[in-house]
């Protein structure tokens, strides 16, 4: 199992009908979901219209007010060049979200290709792809990413691709398992009995039922991708200052950790909040997708 598979498994469990069997009603929005929703709204606004939340220039320096602790004027304090950290964190959202989304898209895309190959094209391909995945799994995530960066050089683009690559085997395995379980589902046989062709079955039953859960998976994956990408930035292999990317801000701030904790605290906080938001929302969406409304009684 990979962390993705854990996430998928947990989402699936959370999506199952209430185990107590007493209340089959899907819960209304809980505290966590509401909070996650508000945060997601904030993050999306930050990414799309950062000026709305933080009208300043994230790159504007002001050497005379460098290292200012959080205050009324600078809610999150300022950095070594007097840049406003709140402004930078808000403007940095787009980088982190784009990196997270792009990495997830790459991982998911590769995963879909590999998983579909393995799940659809018969035993030989399945065997080959499986062995290939096994090999990829022998490289723990960061190792694969480091190797990739070693070859193609550091930078935002390579870091994004590297994170995508290292998550691909996890996605591939989930997709393959999902495909195989859907392929042998009773409703697929029922479609055969109704005289549907292979292609009709593939397009109308197997693919929709395999790919729909991926939306949830992608939401969950974005959180982890952001954490990984930030780690690479932190190691100096991703985004570079003065870009307001959170990982880069955090690593820049770490230098001053003993004198200016706010420089690394707030970017880190946003990384964690984003990842948590993604997890909570992913599970919530999943639950809602499964529970269209109250299941009836037998």
């Amino acid at each position: 199992m990979s962390d993705l598979e854990v996430q998928a498994e947990l989402a699936a469990q959370a999506g199952q009908p209430d185990r107590s069997g007493i209340s089959g009603r899907p819960r209304r929005f809980g505290v966590a979901e509401t909070a996650a929703g508000v945060l997601a709204l904030f993050l999306l606004t930050s990414a799309v219209m950062p000026q709305l939340l933080a009208p300043g220039d994230p790159l504007a320096i002001d050497p005379l007010s460098a290292f200012a602790p959080p205050s009324g004027a600078h809610g999150f304090g300022t950095d070594e060049s007097g840049r406003d950290i709140y402004t930078r964190v808000v403007h940095g959202t787009q980088y982190s979200l784009v990196i997270g989304a792009a990495a997830t898209a790459i991982g998911l895309g590769l995963g879909i290709v590999l998983g579909t190959l393995a799940g659809m094209l018969g035993r030989v391909v399945d065997f080959t792809v499986n062995r290939f995945l096994e090999v990829l799994f022998a490289f723990p995530g960061l190792l694969l990413a480091l190797l990739f960066i070693l070859i193609f050089g550091p930078g935002v683009a390579t870091a994004t691709i590297a994170v995508g690559l290292s998550t691909a085997p996890g996605y591939a395995r989930i997709i393959r398992a999902q495909l195989i379980s859907v392929r042998s589902a009773a409703f697929v046989e029922a479609a055969t009995v109704l005289g549907r062709t292979r292609w009709q079955i593939l397009l109308r039953h197997i693919l929709p039922n395999t790919l729909a859960p991926l939306f949830v998976l992608a939401t969950l994956g974005i959180g982890q991708a952001i954490v990984w990408a930030a780690t690479l930035s932190y190691l100096g292999l991703g985004a570079e200052p003065p870009t307001a990317e959170w990982g880069a801000m955090l690593s820049a701030g770490r230098t001053y950790i003993t004198s200016a904790w706010w420089m690394s605290f707030f970017p880190g906080l946003f990384i964690v909040l984003t990842a948590v938001t993604a997890t909570v929302l992913g599970r919530s969406i999943d639950r809602r997708l499964r529970h269209v409304s109250v299941p009836g009684h037998a």
């Binding site: 009773a186 046989e189 029922a190 009995v193 109704l194 929709p208 039922n209 269209v292 299941p295 037998a298």
Partner: protein, 549 residues
């Protein structure tokens, strides 16, 4: 009936969860030692909640109250969890349905059985081990010394259930509560377990039997209490309740039992809310049915084997041959592992036989390519045990049915709606289910949608694999009636596969009895049911749940 010696005495039991309305209301009964009382009810009637409340296991958020609740003469109302722990296993034992999950699958059964001894006695390990062997012997498990180390997964269903009973009676509790103890079992095994429970009752233990199946409990219960919607609607001696039921619910349940009812007899009452349009005039039309002798489906020497995990091959279907004539029903009956489901899949050409072939409407079927077969598929419908699983979970009823009608998934066109409504009408469903997904339907509704889907292509042949096995008995009755109706209306030929000889006998013209992949007996239903030839058929017949009144 408030005898002083009652093993269990309950007055006005009320159980609720959270703030919701109580799910068990005003339940009162007593059981004396050596007596077997059965509480019978359908799913959701509150019978299991009642059973668990009697052990203090209704759950943390349960509200339990009663005028009194005496176990062995002592009140157990408001006992602390700690005090309950001392009583459970010692004063009362519990046997649950399906021992595969009711015994810890990770522990040897010997350990599970010894647990009660460990918790409530000061016996040493050796003494406990001896007692476990005695218990296994007492519940009729052969070679106890070989069995104690086995996991529940290594035992057969019957062996497991015996082990579970052994665990429950380890300390000879005066009261044994058995909650659906035979439900997942084959009929022959079911009969054995019932015999065991009867024997335990004979030994002076009070047994509270919980079941959905009147026929099952009628064999051993001295008294029956019928539960409906959280209340006991009728209580009395078994013969009396089943022989001359006074209440509506009881009557309906008794009527729904298919065994010994002639072909074509209605099992359900026509005015059930789900079947508003069923014309009752068809009840006595059975004699009009005239099979014309054309063979619509023929199995010729079918064989199919599978690889076992250890590499050897298991013959699942072994040289099976039969023929189905137009307008008739062939019932295939067998216990689990007899190969009946594999046969169904072969008949549907979902897998290819190793040897032999299936011909449909006189044309090659299993030997044809899927492409040529596809042309014939419309004539062959199928109904599955797991109706829910046979629907794409993303599709609504409207989508499922319009797809089956070959109209694609568009739902808006008026003529589509008209055809859907008439199709639903035929299976006794209202058009209100159209926008819903299968997950939102009840079990009976799902199976009706399944039948509607099978009928959509105007088939001449229906293959039904355990179509009613997971349904409550009254719902089962409705579905069986429905199948009977559509067969008549459309002149369908049916293959009806079930583990329940009673059901099969009720619906079939011909019966094939399968065992270990082979057909051991094949003949007209009436004859097989009346004078079975093969010893296995005799055994099956003997085990069929019927009302023994």
């Amino acid at each position: 009936m408030n005898e002083p010696a009652a093993a269990l005495s309950v007055r006005n039991l009320l159980v609720g969860f959270g703030a919701a309305a109580p799910v068990v209301r005003g339940v009162s009964f007593d059981i004396v030692p050596g007596e077997c009382l059965a509480i019978v009810g359908e799913s959701g009637s509150g019978k299991s909640v009642t059973a668990r409340s009697l052990l203090g296991l209704a759950g943390a958020n349960a509200r339990v109250s009663a005028d009194w609740l005496d176990l062995g003469g002592h009140s157990v109302l408001g006992l602390t969890e700690h005090a309950w722990q001392a009583r459970r296993g010692r004063d009362v034992g519990l046997v649950l349905q399906d021992a595969l999950v009711s015994l810890d699958p990770l522990r040897p059964i010997g350990r599970e059985i010894a647990d009660s001894l460990r918790l409530h006695t000061s016996l040493g390990a050796a003494a406990r081990a001896r007692r476990v062997l005695e218990l296994l012997d007492a519940v009729g498990l052969p070679h106890p010394e070989l069995q104690v180390q086995k996991l529940s997964g290594q035992l057969s269903g019957g062996e497991r259930q015996r082990a579970l009973i052994a665990a429950a009676i380890a300390l000879n509790p005066p009261l044994l509560i058995a909650d659906e103890p035979t439900t997942a079992l084959d009929v022959t095994v079911q009969a054995q377990i019932l015999a065991l429970l009867e024997q335990i009752t004979g030994g002076g233990t009070a047994v509270l039997l919980i079941s959905h199946d009147l026929a099952v409990v009628s064999r051993i219960a001295h008294r029956v209490a019928v539960m409906h919607d959280g209340e006991l609607v009728e209580t009395g001696r078994t013969t009396q309740v089943l022989g001359s039921p006074e209440q509506e619910q009881t009557r309906r349940m008794v009527a729904a039992i298919p065994a010994d009812k002639p072909r074509g007899t209605r099992l359900s009452e026509a005015d059930t809310p789900n079947t508003p349009s069923l014309p009752s005039t068809r009840i006595d039309s059975s004699t009009e049915k005239t099979p014309d002798g054309t063979i619509v489906l023929e199995a010729i020497g079918l064989s199919k084997s599978f690889r076992r995990p250890d590499g050897t091959r298991q013959l699942a279907v072994d040289d099976v041959s039969f023929a189905l004539r137009r307008g008739s029903t062939l019932g295939i009956v067998g216990e689990s592992g007899s190969g009946k489901t594999t046969t169904a899949r072969l008949l549907l050409a979902l897998m290819a036989p190793d040897r032999g072939e299936v011909r449909v409407f006189g044309q090659p079927w299993t030997t044809a390519t899927e492409k040529t077969r596809r042309g014939l598929r419309a004539g062959v419908g199928a109904i599955y045990q797991d109706a829910l699983g046979s629907f794409d979970p993303r599709w609504s009823v409207a989508e499922i049915l319009s797809d089956a009608l070959g109209l694609g998934r568009q739902r808006r066109a008026p003529q589509t709606t008209a055809r859907l409504t008439s199709l639903l009408d035929e299976v006794g469903l209202a058009a209100t289910v159209l926008p819903r997904r299968p997950l939102e339907l009840s079990g009976g509704q799902r199976q009706r949608v399944g039948i509607a889907r099978a009928l959509a292509g105007k088939p001449q042949l229906l293959i039904c694999d355990e179509p009613v096995s997971s349904l409550d008995v009254t719902v089962q009755a409705q579905v069986l009636d429905l199948l009977d109706d559509v067969q008549r209306e459309r002149g369908l030929s049916l293959i009806f596969i079930s583990h329940d000889l009673g059901v099969v006998a009720h619906v079939s013209d011909q019966i094939a009895v399968m065992r270990a992949g082979r057909i051991v007996e094949l003949g007209p239903a009436a004859r097989v049911f009346a004078e079975p030839q093969h010893p296995y058929s005799v055994e099956l017949l003997a085990a069929v749940p019927r009302l023994s009144v």
